[in-house]
């Protein structure tokens, strides 16, 4: 019985039938392995998934530091998404406003549910204007809002008229879609429709990029920005780590989009390509080798000899600064195995960093990914749209005749595509090996089984798994928040990661798990007179 079969063995017929397509064990010579993803979670299985609101407010729009994000609904959801992701930001120079330490909620009560909450929301906005006078307000809806018929878009429009600021209403009720993914999409739509393209702050440098799907967890984005700046490349804005409404407005003036987290932001990458002609490049700054490769691909895209030379100089310099540390950590970690369940590309990204350290990833998966995150974008035409995805609006954008400026003609782009992959992503599976287990929408039971059967040396996922994994005697690191550490990306981040993994695996506490009296023989006697 292989590991996959062991995982599925516990399930009764109905659950088995559902889960078997979400669990994959790669086999030698397996052409085009396929996995089911982005379908409804089975009730009662203890999924790791969150909701639509979490994807919209918690992930995508929450990190915007100059935006007053008001959670419209009862108090819990606002509270639970208050400062819980470690999307770090520093207030912009000259701008005093940084709303990240705040949670704003309309704190709806029973009477608001019965009689409607629009008036309360409008008054809350009035209070927010008096207190904080933000340049932009975003309203994120929780479950009851859609049901009681509050029209947050209309409130947003009235807010714009009344105060002359930008206001966006998101109908990101928790029950929409099947996971956080629906909320990412809704947030992407709002940013595309109302924010991107409304600014005119042109980048100052010759080469400029946006980093999409980088939420600056533990400062990852800053490390990436540092490296890019050294190479002479300007980062116009991140989406949305350490980002602001003010900066997002001019995102369309960057020449190239770099995509880190494919799942949460690919909609914007695609729409910006159509509307503004901006190409996107799937990059990975997690891992030393991956960072070097991404930098070289960016240089290849811009096709500029001086830039390429500069990139090589930076790579050489950065590598010489970290190689001693990395060699040491590799000497401690080589041959160890890992399981990873992270965000919407990161289970893929971290495999390259682990490889740098001589470690093998034997389990990987996602909570909320779609098939293209696993199998690559080539699979998209085969994905059948179901009722849940149809409920999430897909917006169509058209070429903006004034602002469209493609960096390359179609022929030039085709030629370049022979060299680097542009506007596409090959997915995680192609970088994994025979025997590896891939699980989509994993749950608590499967986590326990994987720990028991595959026995990885370390497990990277979130806090909901951390303590049970540790109690099962396996090291664990939170790969959504880094256990308050970071950054883990780029060159310096790789060293931090090596240090943290080494510290976790070699912590003395593990050696005391078995008490001494368990080693002592139960019978003590003498043999042969000795």
């Amino acid at each position: 019985m292989n590991d996959r079969e062991k995982l599925l063995e516990k399930y009764a017929a109905k659950v088995y039938k559902n889960r078997k397509d979400h669990i994959l064990q790669l086999a030698e010579g397996d052409e085009d392995p396929s996995i089911a993803a982005n379908t409804r979670t089975i009730p009662g299985v203890m999924t790791a998934r969150g909701c639509c609101y979490a994807g919209c407010k918690g992930v995508v729009v929450g990190p915007l530091k100059d935006v007053c994000v008001i959670t419209h609904g009862p108090v819990g959801c606002g509270f639970y998404s208050w400062g819980t992701r470690r999307n770090k930001a520093r207030p912009d120079e000259h701008a005093e406003k940084n709303f990240l330490p705040y949670c704003f909620s309309t704190d709806m009560q029973e009477s608001d549910i019965v009689f409607g909450g629009e008036k309360k929301l409008e008054k809350a906005i009035e209070e927010a204007m008096q207190l904080f006078s933000p340049a932009c307000i975003m309203i994120c809806s929780t479950c009851p809002i859609g049901l009681i018929g509050d029209d947050v878009q209309a409130v947003a429009q009235r807010t714009e008229e009344k105060y002359g600021i930008k206001a966006i209403g998101y109908s990101c009720e928790g029950y929409k879609g099947v996971s956080q993914s629906a909320g990412h999409h809704i947030a992407n739509n709002g940013l595309m429709r109302y924010v991107i393209g409304t600014g005119d702050k042109a980048p100052a440098k010759t080469f400029s990029v946006n980093i999409l799907g980088e939420y600056n967890i533990g400062g990852d984005g800053w490390e990436e920005e540092r490296i890019l700046k050294r190479c002479g490349i300007e980062v116009v804005t991140m989406f949305t780590g350490d980002a602001s409404y003010a900066a997002l407005k001019s995102a369309h003036l960057a020449q190239l989009n770099l995509v880190m987290c494919h799942r949460s932001i690919n909609y914007i990458a695609e729409m910006m390509k159509t509307k503004y002609g901006t190409d996107w490049l799937k990059v990975n700054f997690v891992g030393v080798g991956a960072t070097c490769q991404s930098l070289r691909e960016i240089a290849a895209y811009f096709n500029d000899a001086a830039l390429s030379a500069r990139v090589e100089e930076v790579i050489a310099d950065e590598l010489s600064a970290i190689c001693g540390d990395m060699e040491y950590y590799k000497s401690r970690l080589a041959g160890k195995t890992a399981g990873i369940f992270s965000g919407g590309s990161r289970s893929h990204h971290y495999q390259t960093l682990l490889r740098d350290l001589g470690m093998n990833t034997v389990i990987a998966g996602y909570e909320f990914a779609h098939r293209d995150d696993y199998e690559g974008r080539g699979v998209i035409p085969q994905i059948k749209e179901d009722a849940d995805s149809k409920n999430i609006e897909t917006i169509t954008v058209e070429r903006d005749l004034e602002q469209y400026r493609a960096f390359y003609s179609e022929d030039e782009l085709a030629a370049l595509c022979a060299e680097i992959e542009i506007d596409t992503y090959a997915g995680m599976i192609c970088d994994m090996d025979a025997g590896d287990v891939i699980v989509d929408d994993y749950n608590a039971l499967e986590t326990d089984e994987l720990i028991r059967t595959v026995k990885p040396d370390i497990f990277f996922s979130g806090i909901k798994d951390k303590f049970s994994v540790q109690k099962a005697g396996v090291s664990s690191r939170q790969i959504h928040s880094y256990d308050y550490s970071g950054p883990y990306s780029g060159f310096r981040g790789a060293v931090n990661f090596g240090r943290d993994v080494t510290m976790s695996l070699f912590c003395n506490a593990w050696s005391y798990v078995t008490p001494p009296w368990k080693h002592e023989p139960t019978l003590v006697g003498s043999y042969g007179g000795r």
């Binding site: 399930y11 659950v15 409804r40 979670t41 089975i42 009730p43 009662g44 299985v45 203890m46 999924t47 790791a48 998934r49 969150g50 909701c51 979490a54 008001i70 609904g73 009862p74 108090v75 819990g76 959801c77 606002g78 509270f79 639970y80 208050w82 819980t84 705040y102 949670c103 704003f104 909620s105 309309t106 704190d107 709806m108 009560q109 608001d112 929301l121 008054k123 809350a124 209070e127 927010a128 207190l131 479950c143 009851p144 049901l147 009681i148 009720e173 928790g174 029950y175 929409k176 009722a387 608590a444 039971l445 326990d448 909901k464 951390k466 303590f467 049970s468 109690k471 099962a472 005697g473």
Partner: protein, 466 residues
């Protein structure tokens, strides 16, 4: 005029009902809970509890989607309960509602009835808890779950001479103390709930998802035959109170006491137990003496403290009294709950304490947020925060030390071990208060003293003595 903005809650000093309900159910043996709603509720609550307790937290969800909200969530909940049983084999299941389930008007009782019909002979007790997110805070959710458990078990009215102990949310370490304390007084008690093991586990050879600690339903059914209920809540409304329920339904006499913090909190608790057959040991008398000794040792430093105390109403009430007993002036008593009884419980005492130290203004805030607390901290010269770690932003911004002793603690480890009850727990708070004041004095004495008395004094001329 309201103390808060009316419509915009800025930095909430409260969470929602399902959070409290799920926490309370962790104190029932063999119990797992499922939230009927979208899966984010369960995920958010698991995440927040895990961070505070540093323990695995398992709460299932019926994972309602748009279809479920339109056509009703019955099918999802039935599947959810069935899967939970098959996969994790709980003996008890708590079904808690959420905003979503309540807004679409789910009849959870009927769905559970249907489940039993479809699955006859299953040995699982299913308890329903109405916990809409808009219905109150985690405190009300906690009591709603306790009340539901007490009301939905089969009662065993046979007199058993036991004492029921009903607590609001207290830490597992405090719960362990409470259990040992009752045992030390020679009393047999039933604890509703008992979070001591399930939310503060050990490292074991094999990890078990289904927790083995907590009070069993068998024990809980005996609450109907107990000789007394002690409920540590002055603020739970009668219809939320398990003590009132047990009294009205089964005639079990009850007393409602403040949480056993500080001298008076402990004395009144000990006195009740003594009257019901408890023995006061030499050790206990010694411990009380030691506590008083420590109070006297610390009072001169504590007297400098101007504290803001915030959290669940019963914690706030007990902590305010603890402060007053040792000269810490509680200038702000605040709760995020709607709690009209808080003022009456602490007003007089706060005023008296403030008067001694020439403090003119104090505030009692109910239904308030941290924005209001921050405003009054600045206005009233607060120099000590006592409560949850959600005030860490105020602490940083205004430079005020924070004693983390209430749920949730998200920026430090050890939430599960925080001690606040009994003499030892009280002293944990008092010592931290005294030391916070000493640290402040140590760092700022010369500056404060000089600026206040000598700076610009004519005797020293313009330049002063420095």
């Amino acid at each position: 005029m309201s103390e808060n903005l009316v419509n915009l809650n800025v930095n909430p000093c409260k969470m929602c009902m399902p959070m409290g309900a799920a926490t309370a159910l962790y104190g029932i043996r063999g119990c797992m809970s499922i939230l009927h709603g979208s899966q984010g509720c369960a995920t958010y609550i698991r995440r927040h509890m895990a961070t505070h307790f540093n323990e695995p937290i398992d709460i299932a969800s019926s994972s309602l989607t748009e279809q479920g909200t339109v056509f009703g969530g019955e099918a999802n909940l039935l599947k959810g309960i069935s899967n939970l049983i098959k996969l994790y084999r709980p003996e008890v299941i708590g079904v808690c509602t959420t905003c979503l389930a309540e807004t679409i008007g789910e009849d959870v009782g009927a769905i559970i009835g249907k489940f039993h019909e479809q699955n006859p002979g299953l040995d699982v007790k299913i308890i329903r808890v109405a916990s809409p997110g808009y219905g109150g805070t985690q405190n009300e959710g906690f009591f709603a779950a306790l009340r539901a458990v007490a009301g939905q078990v089969e009662p065993d009215r046979e007199p058993n001479g036991k004492i029921n102990i009903v607590t609001p949310m207290v830490s597992p370490a405090d719960m362990r103390w409470l259990k040992a304390f009752l045992g030390g007084m020679g009393l047999d008690a039933i604890f509703l709930p008992d979070l001591s093991d399930n939310l503060d586990g050990v490292t074991e050879k094999t990890y078990q998802r289904l927790k083995t600690g907590g009070t069993s339903l068998g024990e809980i059914s005996k609450m109907a035959g107990a000789k007394l209920t002690v409920e540590f809540s002055e603020h739970a409304k009668p219809d939320e109170s398990p003590a009132v329920f047990l009294h009205e339904t089964y005639g079990v006499p009850f007393v409602r006491l403040p949480l056993p913090m500080g001298v008076r909190g402990m004395d009144s608790f000990v006195e009740v137990l003594r009257r019901h057959g408890g023995t006061v040991s030499h050790d206990l008398i010694k411990e009380r003496g030691r506590y008083l000794d420590a109070m006297v040792d610390g009072h001169k430093y504590c007297a400098k403290a101007r504290a803001a105390v915030f959290g669940d109403p019963d914690f706030v009430t007990a902590a305010v009294r603890l402060c007053c007993e040792n000269g810490i002036v509680p200038v702000i008593a605040a709760t995020g709950s709607v709690c009209p009884t808080l003022k009456a419980a602490v007003r007089e005492e706060m005023d008296a304490c403030a008067e001694i130290s020439f403090v003119e203004n104090t505030r009692i805030l109910e239904d308030c947020d941290f924005d209001a607390i921050e405003k009054y901290c600045a206005e009233l010269g607060v120099n000590l925060l006592i409560g949850s770690s959600d005030s860490r932003r105020i602490s940083r911004k205004l430079g005020i030390p924070l004693i983390r002793c209430a749920f949730p603690i998200h920026d430090h480890v050890g939430g599960q071990r925080v001690r606040t009850l009994g003499f030892e727990g009280s002293l944990n708070i008092l010592d931290q208060a005294a030391n916070a004041m000493l640290d402040r004095t140590e760092a700022r004495f010369r500056g404060d003293l000089y600026d206040r008395f000598y700076k610009g004094d004519a005797a020293f001329g313009e330049e002063g003595i420095g």
